[in-house]
């Protein structure tokens, strides 16, 4: 019972020391305090804390503070005047200003492309058409075994969203405020340094996917450093590639372009189309290219097919 009271009373302490309790509440508190040492101690601590904060030293602003404010006002005024002149003069200044702005915006985008290696490949839901007609099972068991050997010892599979850490790290780097080596361990050279990735394409048609991806990889100067593995059980095409993060951005863009462009697949599904909802931008588009693509940094990939 007493503990209960103490809790209630202590909840009132903050207002009590500010003299914000009404008569009735104050009386209750005082009554309780007269017979409760625990609460008296707590209240005492509260008074001390309040006292400590109240008595923090104040500091005066510099004596020329007013002058500084005047200076700032002047600076703002002259900026405004400059801008006014710029936009009121009909002759050359306006087109010059405007074209400078356009140039600036253009450059910003170019720099963004260069430093922020693009979006992740979006993973999307594939709604298979009615009457799912699987292609004949190819003999990829042997290939699977070979690949499991290759990936043995790799740590568990995670999908990385590289762009966000890049974006964060590099935008800070560009502000010059964070030492380079602190940015997730990446340095400037890393954008151009070639790294190994695992490219995984989930698709019903792994054969044509292989053809297509080979073309794309060739276009983007990407090295394929493993035998492609087609796993018909999980409908996956897996290969290891090597390219620089900078090129990776281009590769992702190209893949996305491929996925978006519509064409009918003649090989298996004739005129049947897949409907796919791009979850991220809410776009509905038809794309028989049911590619669900993941590109993972090599070190963090493990082959799940053994499960």
């Amino acid at each position: 019972m007493d503990d209960c009271n103490c809790k209630i009373i202590q909840d009132l302490f903050s207002e009590y020391i500010d003299n914000e309790l009404n008569e009735e509440q104050s009386r209750l508190v005082r009554e309780h305090l007269s017979s409760c040492e625990v609460c008296r101690n707590e209240l005492d601590k509260l008074y001390k804390v309040s006292f400590l904060v109240k008595n923090l030293k104040e500091d005066a602003p510099p004596s020329d503070f007013l002058d500084r404010v005047h200076k700032r006002i002047e600076q703002r005024r002259s900026l405004e005047r400059f801008l006014k002149d710029l936009f009121s003069n009909q002759n050359i200044k306006v087109p010059v200003a405007l074209s400078l702005m356009v140039l600036l915006i253009f450059m910003v985008f170019k720099v963004r492309e260069l430093y922020f290696p693009g979006q992740t490949i979006k993973t999307t839901q594939v709604v298979p058409p009615q009457g799912d007609s699987r292609k004949p099972i190819s003999s990829s068991q042997e290939k699977l075994l070979y690949m499991s050997e290759l990936y043995k010892g790799a740590t568990s599979y995670t999908e990385k969203t590289e762009s966000s850490s890049y974006e964060q790290g590099l935008s800070e780097k560009m502000k010059g405020l964070v030492p380079q080596h602190e940015i997730y361990g990446k340095t400037e050279g890393d954008i151009l340094e070639e790294k190994e990735y695992v490219l995984i394409i989930n698709t019903h048609d792994t054969k044509s996917a292989l053809e297509k991806i080979k073309d794309i990889l060739k276009e983007t100067d990407t090295k394929i450093i493993s035998l492609p593995v087609e796993d018909s059980k999980t409908n996956r095409l897996i290969l290891r590639i090597k390219l620089s993060p900078q090129k990776l951005a281009l590769l992702k863009n190209k893949i996305n372009e491929e996925r978006k462009s519509a064409y009918t697949s003649n090989t298996m599904f004739e005129t049947e189309h897949y409907y796919k909802e791009n979850v991220e931008d809410g776009i509905f588009y038809t794309a028989p290219l049911d590619w669900d693509v993941q590109i993972v940094e090599n070190a963090s990939y493990t082959d799940n097919t053994s499960q």
Binding site: D11, F13, S14, E15, D18, E20, K45, L46, K48, V49, S50, L52, V53, K54, L56, K57, E58, D59, A60, P61, P62, F65, L66, R68, V69, R72, I73, R76, E172, K175, L177, V178, E182
Partner: protein, 190 residues
């Protein structure tokens, strides 16, 4: 002269009235910034920006609230923005428990410059101040704001509520919580 009078005169074209307002409130604004931001240079910078803002927007000031309330509001907002900006670009908190609170040593030096405490008192007092400042800086912005406005500025609950645009009930609970935290953080020296 009353604030409203000064404002009217300024809006009528008398620049010296603005100067009078600055002189009257520069200490308040600067100290508030200093406590909120914990850094002399930042506080100085923001304080100047605040008065620039006042200069430009006084013509929109309708006099419904007190000028001081209006000034407090601007100050709190500017400090919040600056804190957010500072945190974003520095990745770690502006104040780390390991660094001594940056200029507080400097501040405390200044304060004791023309007094003559015994060396022992001076050191103890400095350490205590440092501890309290660190504790204050460890609070998250919402708690820091109410504590500073209550303890240092001595404002009533209603005014704090008005400045921060929250209910009185919220002021009460935040204050209570903030004080509990400080009680805990400073338990060694109380």
């Amino acid at each position: 002269m009353e604030d409203n009078e000064l404002i009217d005169k300024f809006l009528a074209g008398d620049k010296s009235s603005f100067d009078a307002l600055v002189s009257k409130y520069q200490g308040l604004v600067f100290n508030l910034c200093l406590k909120m931001l914990g850094n002399y240079e930042e506080a100085l910078d923001v304080a100047q920006d605040i008065f620039l803002k006042v200069y430009e927007s006084l013509k929109f000031f309708q006099g419904k609230a007190k000028f001081s309330t209006y000034l407090y509001r601007i100050t709190i907002n500017f400090c919040r923005n600056r804190l957010r900006a500072l945190n974003r670009y520095r990745k770690k908190a502006v104040f780390s428990i390991d660094d001594p609170v940056e200029t507080e040593d400097g501040l405390i030096e200044r304060e004791f410059a023309d007094k003559n405490p015994t060396p022992r008192e001076s050191w103890e007092e400095k350490e205590r101040q440092k501890a309290v400042l660190l504790a204050l800086n460890s609070l998250s912005p919402e708690y820091k704001e109410v504590i500073i406005l209550k303890e240092i500025e001595g404002l009533k609950y209603e005014e704090i509520a008005s400045i921060l645009n929250i209910s009185v009930g919220t002021v009460k609970s935040r204050l209570s919580r903030a004080r509990d935290i400080l009680k805990n953080v400073l338990k060694d020296i109380i």
